[in-house]
């Protein structure tokens, strides 16, 4: 706190004091703290730019209206294989160059196929863009559906206990016993042509079990705390107690679990694509690109790099945003004792003894 104030300067501090007596609601304070979290803000920026970049790259058709993309190739185009910047007799290398001339590079330019071409000559940038579209969609749909169902089921069974809890948890057990991969392949087999969004929706319906268990456990402990009684005495309804009082206290666990779930969704989709049920060719996803070209890792590594890079950046951004949310909800966040501090402390203790 103090540090932030001094960094932001005096004017910010004065207005802060002026505003201090003004009442803020919990959500206002959480929002303020979230916007102050640098990592989360950067990640939101990165993620939105990726989404913008990825979705505007290719020609798309929404409600019958064709919107042209900024990239010249689509995933169906089959341009001739070019040499790119290949050296050892390979073809289809990336033409992207980021090292300027004066640093000994080839200058900054995109070239014809910035990410290279795959083995039959399709433009890899177009493939990666389409793959990222698909993966992002799968990730968010699974995360949102599983997150909501898991939280609600866990919250209700943890809060009400008794027979409601018993029924919901046995139902959860039942869902857990059915392997997701098999569900995915069955759904993919029967409804594969309905599209990826549909598949993701169904996977979301089966992916909430772990989260609901964690949330239930958290609710079981939190509901015994005195502030819940205090809220009840104040006249709060059960719904208000669950969503206003207990849920913000359980947010840490929910966010950690949902971000893991979302990163896991990318892998799940990859596994299903590998089985041939997720994203059906010629459509691609980041996962299917990686699994499709895993043999070419040594010979043509760029086929591996670009989808991998996108997966990492997306997963990291989601994690950082989750971190920011968790910190914003948890008022007790403090600056951690770094190793540098500890070294200084040790140094200090030595000099302290000598004096």
């Amino acid at each position: 706190m103090n540090e932030n104030n001094s960094v932001e300067g005096d004017s910010a501090e004065i207005s802060l004091i002026e505003r201090e007596t003004q009442g803020l609601s919990q959500s206002q304070i959480v929002r303020k703290r979230f916007f102050r979290h640098r990592g989360a803000m950067v990640s939101i920026f990165v993620l939105t730019s990726i989404i913008g970049l990825v979705y505007s790259a290719l020609d798309a058709k929404y409600f019958g209206v064709r919107i042209p993309g900024w990239w010249k190739y689509s995933i169906e185009d089959l341009p001739e294989l070019t040499l790119g910047q290949c050296k050892d007799g390979l073809v289809g290398c990336p033409t992207l160059s980021v090292v300027p001339n004066f640093l000994g590079g080839n200058g900054v330019h995109l070239g014809d196929h910035p990410f290279g071409q795959d083995d039959i000559g399709r433009d890899y940038l177009a493939l990666v863009m389409r793959g990222a579209q698909r993966s992002l969609m799968v990730t968010f749909i699974i995360g949102a559906i599983a997150g909501v169902i898991g939280t609600v089921v866990g919250a209700i069974s943890g809060f009400y206990r008794g027979w409601i809890d018993a029924i919901l948890m046995r139902f959860t057990d039942f869902i857990i016993t059915v392997p997701t991969i098999i569900i995915g392949s069955v759904i993919g087999f029967h409804f594969g042509n309905l599209g990826v969004a549909f598949l993701a929706f169904y996977l979301g319906l089966f992916g909430w079990t772990g989260l609901s268990r964690l949330v239930r456990g958290e609710f079981l402990t939190l509901r015994e705390r005195e502030f819940v009684d205090a809220a009840r005495v104040a006249g709060a309804t059960n719904r208000r107690i669950i969503f206003k009082h207990i849920l913000p206290n359980a947010v840490g666990i929910i966010i950690v679990s949902v971000t893991l779930l979302m990163s896991g969704a990318i892998l799940l989709e990859t596994a299903l694509s590998y089985l041939g049920f997720g994203v059906v060719a010629p459509d691609v996803s980041l996962g299917s690109l990686i699994s499709q070209y895993q043999e070419s890792f040594t010979t043509r590594p760029w086929l591996f790099w670009y989808p991998g890079l996108f997966i990492i950046v997306i997963a990291l951004s989601i994690n950082f945003i989750g971190d920011g949310l968790r910190d914003a909800f948890d008022p007790r966040q403090r600056r951690r004792l770094t190793r540098k501090d500890r070294d200084r402390a040790k140094l200090g203790s030595k000099t302290g003894v000598q004096k």
Binding site: N2, E3, E20, T21, Q22, G23, L24, S25, Q26, I29, R225, E226, F227, D229, A230, A231, R232, V233, A234, G235, A236, R240, H245, P248, N249, V251, F329, D330, P331, R332, R335, L337, D341, R342, R344, A345, G348, S349, G352, V353, K355
Partner: protein
């Protein structure tokens, strides 16, 4: 001249927090001889526990210590871990505040004592077991052969503390450091533990470093006293000096803040005996049962309880832990269902009320909980916590609500700017004020205060009680004040009810109960309250011992 056990000279402790060294103990000097008790007294944050932990280098890694700590002429500060291990348990033993957390719950107490013994001595298992049995007998745990195989949760609080003491005594240490050894215990148990510690000290000729905030305990035990404030030793002297002739203003203030039994003047009842108004709270033949859960049988916490509270009076409900007083308090505002009998609040029966009825009845009630840290939602700024009852009762919203919150904060003497703070940013006393502000938000006719001061320091407690009294005089609410501390109840209440094992054993005017108790249990409760006066404590102690024989 007895042997010197502990010598602390120019002892300093600092903590490294956010890039700055914060001093916790400043230039502490202390000498302690065998068979003597030195007490370090101070309020929370004064550095007394830091001193105790610093003696054996048990502080967190961001602490730095300087000066010298000698135990039996050997330097402890910055000694290597082998030396420290040899001394810990063997020469210096600790008795911690909370025996439930200091004993490992998955091992029997016998195992834990044996472990200590075999760590320090070359001892066979049978031999160690015999010695452990001997120790358990020494600390007067009933049925030693059976108790040695019991787990901590199977023992009562007092027995757990005895087991802790047995473990601490395992190696006949020259120095016992007792860090608030009786704070978690009831007064009658506290008296027993203090007697035990005194007896053992004389028998084994150990020195005791007693750390406490309770002036009564100090008066009972200490030969010499150090008063600490913000890390500085402000006064030191013999027990008689400190209690009868305190020099430093802080010591005087500390002694002045200790509530004393029978020191308050007579209070006029808010109503006349002949024309009683209708009671605000009326409990008739209330029985409360905790239902059977798995293999744990049903437990009757309160039996046939009768109590009436009239407008404008404060009724103190006193009893030891487990007597059912909190249960009564919670049932009185409909947080717990009752089995038989009836509870009426302002003439409305709540025992069979629906959720909807309860909602309207609760507008007439407020409750202050025991632990302000747990009764305020840690994720909710306190302004919102205070305003919630008003908001939910649909009395005000938006700006009007903000104004009411400001008024409530003014009422409990908290700055308005605190409304955006989270509970953890406030001190214990401030949090409890927030608790009161919330309870009074709807200007209730009945306030239930469930041990609101038990987590507070004496001086904070004194201010808190003043505030509560002021508010009560201004707002004229009726109050059920639940406490284990008779002295606190004495200050506040018009009438007192005493509970034991779920039964109401005595009830009547404050003076009738305190000066002329009819019931044996009430008498025992009153005599066990430690008073901050060494001479008085000695007389009482002897009376207690005589009664035992």
């Amino acid at each position: 001249m007895s042997e010197q056990v502990l010598k602390i000279s120019d002892f300093n402790v600092d903590f490294w927090v956010d890039g700055v060294w914060y001093p916790a103990v400043i230039d502490m000097n202390l000498e302690l001889n065998a068979g003597k008790v030195t007490a370090i007294v101070g309020e929370s944050g004064s550095g007394k526990s830091t001193t105790a932990l610093g003696l054996m280098s048990l502080l967190a890694s961001n602490a730095r210590m300087s000066g010298s700590v000698q135990v039996k002429q050997e330097e402890m500060l910055n000694a290597n871990s082998a030396t420290l291990r040899k001394f810990r348990g063997r020469e210096v033993a600790y008795i911690f505040q909370e025996p439930m957390t200091a004993l490992n719950p998955v091992y029997t107490i016998g195992f834990q004592i044996v472990e200590t013994l075999r760590n320090h001595f070359d001892m066979g298992p049978t031999q160690a077991h015999e010695r452990a049995l001997e120790l358990i007998t020494l600390v007067d745990i009933p049925e030693p052969e059976k108790s040695i195989n019991k787990y901590p949760h199977q023992l009562s609080g007092g027995q757990r503390q005895r087991a802790m003491i047995a473990q601490a005594l395992a190696c006949d240490p020259g120095l016992l450091v007792a860090d608030e050894p009786t704070t978690a215990l009831d007064v009658t148990v506290q008296a027993e533990i203090l007697d035990l510690m005194r007896g053992l000290k004389d028998k084994l000729n150990s020195a005791i470093l007693l750390i406490t905030h309770d002036m009564g305990v100090v008066a009972d035990m200490a030969d010499e006293i150090l008063v600490m404030k913000d890390g500085v030793t402000v006064e030191r002297g013999s027990a008689d000096q400190i209690f009868n002739n305190p020099q430093h203003p802080y010591t005087q203030q500390l002694l002045g803040a200790v509530p004393k039994l029978g020191s308050t003047k007579k209070r006029t009842m808010p109503y006349s005996e002949s024309a009683k108004p209708a009671p605000v709270l009326k409990l008739t033949d209330v029985t409360i049962e905790y239902p059977k859960r798995g293999r744990i049988p049903a437990f009757t916490a309160v039996k046939n309880f009768n109590l009436e509270i009239y407008p404008g009076e404060i009724v103190g409900l006193v009893g030891e832990s487990g007597s059912g007083k909190t249960t009564v308090g919670r049932a009185s505002i409909g947080l717990l269902p009752i089995k038989t009998g009836s509870i009426e609040i302002v003439g409305k029966d709540i025992s069979h009320a629906t959720q909807k009825d309860l909602f309207s009845i609760r507008r007439h009630t407020g409750i202050v909980f025991q632990d302000p840290a747990s009764s305020l939602n840690p994720r909710l700024p306190i302004g919102e916590s205070i305003g919630e009852p008003i908001f939910l009762a649909k009395i005000a919203k938006g700006d009007a609500l903000a104004h009411m919150i400001e008024d409530l904060l003014d009422q409990v003497e908290l700055p308005r700017s605190y409304r955006n703070r989270y509970p953890h940013e406030l001190s214990g006393g401030q949090r409890q004020r927030v608790g009161i502000a919330r309870a009074l938000a709807l200007t209730p006719d009945l306030l239930i205060a469930d041990e609101p001061t038990s987590a507070l320091d004496v001086s904070v407690q004194a201010r808190f009680l003043d505030l509560l009294q002021e508010l009560q005089e201004k707002l004229k609410f009726a109050c059920l004040f639940i406490s284990h501390d008779l002295a606190v109840v004495d200050i506040l209440s018009h009438r007192i009810a005493v509970m034991q094992n779920g039964l109401l054993v005595e009830e009547g005017d404050r003076d009738a109960i305190l000066l002329n108790p009819k019931n044996d249990y009430t008498r025992r409760l009153i005599s066990a309250v430690p008073v901050p006066d060494p001479a008085e404590q000695r007389i009482r102690r002897e009376a207690r011992l005589a009664a035992k024989k």
